[in-house]
């Protein structure tokens, strides 16, 4: 199996190289057969990488410790699900997984464009194959997943206990799918530049890919935050760690891109800016991989130093320089007729929204890199931690939320002051009313007050938009409200899916503000039977239970939670000890409600004195972050779904093809 895997990777590399040559030759010499062979080569490449994936998975499932990778990231006692997820638990496996995703996306793009975009698709596929060549070269020559050990150990060193969690089973794949799928719009953008087909074809062709990428980047960040929240046991979900930042930056840039392309699709403007944004998004995914794997910046999430850094940096610089040179060489062709009437227009709101998003992305980038800069310039190691990022980004986040409210209600081209008042009266009243209520409830922090008011304002704008749409349908089509709402969203899914995403963002924003400003914490050492309090909860320690499996030892505390004298729940936080890895871990106990999360950690215990130490956090509104994430995901699915008109167009195309095929299969000659 290891030999098969290595051979498959070598063949995949050869096929990727061939596909580039064949695509370019076929396009230049107008040889459709050669282009078809390039496409087949990409499908074969995908099959070969799949074989390599299956080979490594087989090694993991069979605990084949002759493979260095399996011996380093698995053990015989590791549960099967984590043997599967161990594939992305280490350096080589995760690179292989990345390459596999890239090969699948390349194969899908090749299939989708086999009869359309005949001018730019071969170039886009060449760009994608170029990226695949880099990763396949790494897997073949630098960080090989199928390297064998001279002496086969009886037991593996096991997967890092922090990664033995169900969120880790889905967080890295989601994030990787998000990262890797940015390659598709990037490749089409680059292809548009190469072929000088600079209209919005490349944007329309990859619109769903861009949303798909954003969807998975959102889920990846969300699952990662949830993993940190449940596993790391510090009561938080985001620590502005370099690797977290690396996942956040592409999300910000892709968000800017998804807004900005609307201006190009509608008004044929911002062509250069959109190409810059997609280049940035792709570059940032490479940058994220570079900092995760180079060891240049220390991070809790980093892989050990692997020597991959220089290769990734060279590739990143190469991509940036080539793409920038291509863009600069096409600037004249990218100039578009400017048609801009007023600052009070949706175009202007989108431009400032882009500014805020890119401003935050820059601040995160700058804060992440500043320690490296400081060490290089002054020779002094410094830390840029959460206080920096929170302070720099907090005002920008408020600005962004404000613009999120303004964008949907302001008209394209220009808005008259009268329309402005009519559109914004309800949201402004809602915002002010919320602020006053919060003030009356005793909230004094100006940031939280402003944030909650703005959140209400944005929700107001979304509600106004839905109300307008529904009443327009009721007036024109005479539908009942519920049916009008469903049809409104179904017919304009991209627009209203976007508004649902806005609702999700607001939910998450409220959760972030609430959990950041109003978290309380108590640490208590108690004997069995004793209790302690946090907020309105009372927690009684009711004893310890121990259990053991071949894989881990568990010591679980039983804590009875009451509120106003009434039993609410029993929480069972635990201390875990992974035997093969010889590492401890924490199992947090949670009681989550929309108002607040009760978060209980067993910090320590002494069985001789029957004493346990608990760390408890009462975190208001954190529930809304996760809910907001899923609302965002739901909105994205709606936005991506083919709408009525698109489904009709697809059906017509299929009917046309069927008819063509029928004609093609019928005998044409009359000689018989």
């Amino acid at each position: 199996m290891p030999m098969l895997g290595q051979l498959a990777l070598a063949l995949a590399l050869v096929l990727a190289i061939y596909s580039i040559g064949a695509n370019i030759y076929g396009v230049r010499r107008h040889q459709p057969d050669v282009i078809v062979s390039a496409r087949h080569a990409l499908w074969a490449m995908c099959a070969m990488v799949t074989v390599a994936m299956l080979a490594l998975w087989t090694g993991l499932l069979r605990s084949n410790f002759s493979l260095e990778y399996v011996a380093s990231y698995s053990s015989t006692t590791l549960p099967t699900i984590y043997k599967i997820t161990a594939l992305w638990g280490g350096q080589q496996g995760s690179l292989l997984f990345w390459t596999w995703l890239l090969s699948i996306f390349t194969a899908i793009v090749a299939f989708q464009n086999r009869r359309k975009n005949l001018e730019i698709a071969p170039w886009a596929l060449s760009v994608m194959a170029g990226v695949a060549i880099f990763f396949l070269a790494m897997l073949n020559f630098v960080t090989r997943p199928f390297d064998l050990l001279a002496i086969i150990p009886a037991q593996g060193t096991d997967l890092n206990p922090l990664l033995q969690n169900y969120w880790m089973a889905i967080h890295p794949p989601s994030l990787y799918v998000g990262y890797v799928s940015t390659t598709v719009p990037f490749a089409f953008g680059a292809a548009a530049l190469i072929t000088r087909k600079l209209d919005d074809t490349w944007i329309r062709t990859t619109r769903r890919w861009a949303i798909f990428s954003w969807f998975f980047l959102t889920l990846g960040n969300l699952f990662g935050a949830r993993w940190a929240y449940e596993v790391l046991g510090w009561g938080g979900y985001w620590a502005w760690d370099p690797v977290e930042n690396a996942a956040f930056m592409p999300w910000l840039v892709m968000t800017a891109y998804l807004h900005s392309v609307m201006i190009q699709e509608r008004k044929d403007m911002l062509k250069i800016w959109n190409l810059v944004l997609i280049g940035m998004a792709f570059g940032l995914t490479l940058f994220g991989t570079f900092i995760t794997r180079s060891g240049v910046i220390s991070s809790v999430h980093s892989f050990t130093q692997s020597g991959l850094g220089p290769y990734f940096l060279s590739f990143l610089i190469g991509v940036v320089v080539l793409y920038a040179a291509l863009l600069i060489s096409r600037v004249k062709d990218l100039r578009s007729p400017a048609e801009f009437e007023s600052y009070l227009s949706r175009e202007a709101a989108f431009l400032f929204n882009n500014l805020a998003l890119i401003g935050i992305a820059f601040a995160v980038f700058w804060g992440t890199l500043f320690p490296v800069l400081s060490e290089a310039v002054r020779g002094v190691k410094i830390t840029v931690g959460p206080p920096f990022f929170n302070r720099v980004n907090a005002p920008l986040a408020l600005g962004l939320i404000f613009l999120m409210g303004v964008g949907p209600l302001i008209a394209w081209r220009r808005t008259t002051p009268r329309n402005l008042v009519r559109s914004f009266a309800t949201p402004v009243i809602l915002g002010v009313f919320t602020g006053l209520c919060a003030l009356a409830a005793g909230l004094t922090q100006w940031y939280a007050l402003t944030a909650f008011s703005l959140a209400a304002f944005v929700l107001g704008t979304v509600l106004v938009e839905f109300r307008r749409g529904v009443s327009a349908r009721r007036h024109l089509v005479n539908e009942p409200p519920a049916r009008a709402l469903v049809n409104l969203v179904a017919k304009n899914n991209r627009r209203y899916g976007g508004y649902i995403i806005h609702i999700g963002v607001i939910c998450a924003f409220v959760g972030i503000v609430g959990s950041s400003f109003f978290k309380t914490e108590v640490k208590a050492s108690v004997k069995e039977g004793q209790s302690f309090a946090i907020g309105s909860y009372r927690l009684r320690y009711a004893g310890l239970e121990s259990s053991e499996t071949p894989h881990l030892e568990t010591v679980r505390a039983k804590v009875v939670v009451t509120r106003d004298g009434r039993a609410v729940t029993t929480l069972t936080p635990a201390k875990l000890f992974y035997k093969a890895a010889q590492q401890p871990a924490t199992d947090v106990a949670l009681r989550s409600t929309p108002a607040a999360d009760l978060y209980l950690v067993l910090a320590g215990f002494d069985q001789t004195t029957a004493t346990a130490t608990f760390q408890v956090f009462l975190t208001p509104l954190v529930f809304w972050i996760w809910l907001g994430g899923f609302v965002m995901a739901f909105g994205t699915v709606i936005a991506m779904w083919p709408n009525v008109r698109e489904r009709a167009a697809i059906a017509a195309t299929v009917r046309g093809r069927l008819a063509d095929d029928r004609f093609a299969s019928e005998p044409t000659g009359g000689g018989r």
Binding site: G235, F340, I382, T383, G385, N492
Partner: protein, 161 residues
Amino acid sequence: MKLALVIAMLALLIAAPPAAPAVTPKTSRQAVAEGLTCQCGCGLTVANCNHPNCEFSVPAREKIDHLIAQGLTRVQIIAIFRAKYGEKVLSSPTTQGFNLLAWVTPPLVMVMGAMLVMFTISRWRTARPGPAPPGAPHITPPDADNPDLRRELERRLRERI
């Protein structure tokens, strides 16, 4: 000059510690611990490191409590840690010397970005097509009261909405 002033003010606003209230409150352990980075490798602040037997954050928190009990302020306590462990123990860069760049650059970039956006918009606005040149065909705006036109408009609206 004005721009430099705006940028300096923005940077100071962001980098400056929160304004002190009229009555200085007692220094809290949380406020001090948030300003220090745990050196155990967890990447969190001393306030957030949750390793139960952490060799750095546990004694650091005890020391903070001890120094607060002696009446020292947040700034003084952080200075003591800095003197012992160096700048890397601070959870954010100082606002002096080279480190000021960390704070000034993001607002500077934002201001420059905002100026670029406003400049671009104003250039686009002035580049708008002007009135039709003499001799150009005159297009009469459609009559909004035309019943055929209204019917067609409503039909298209029904399709779109």
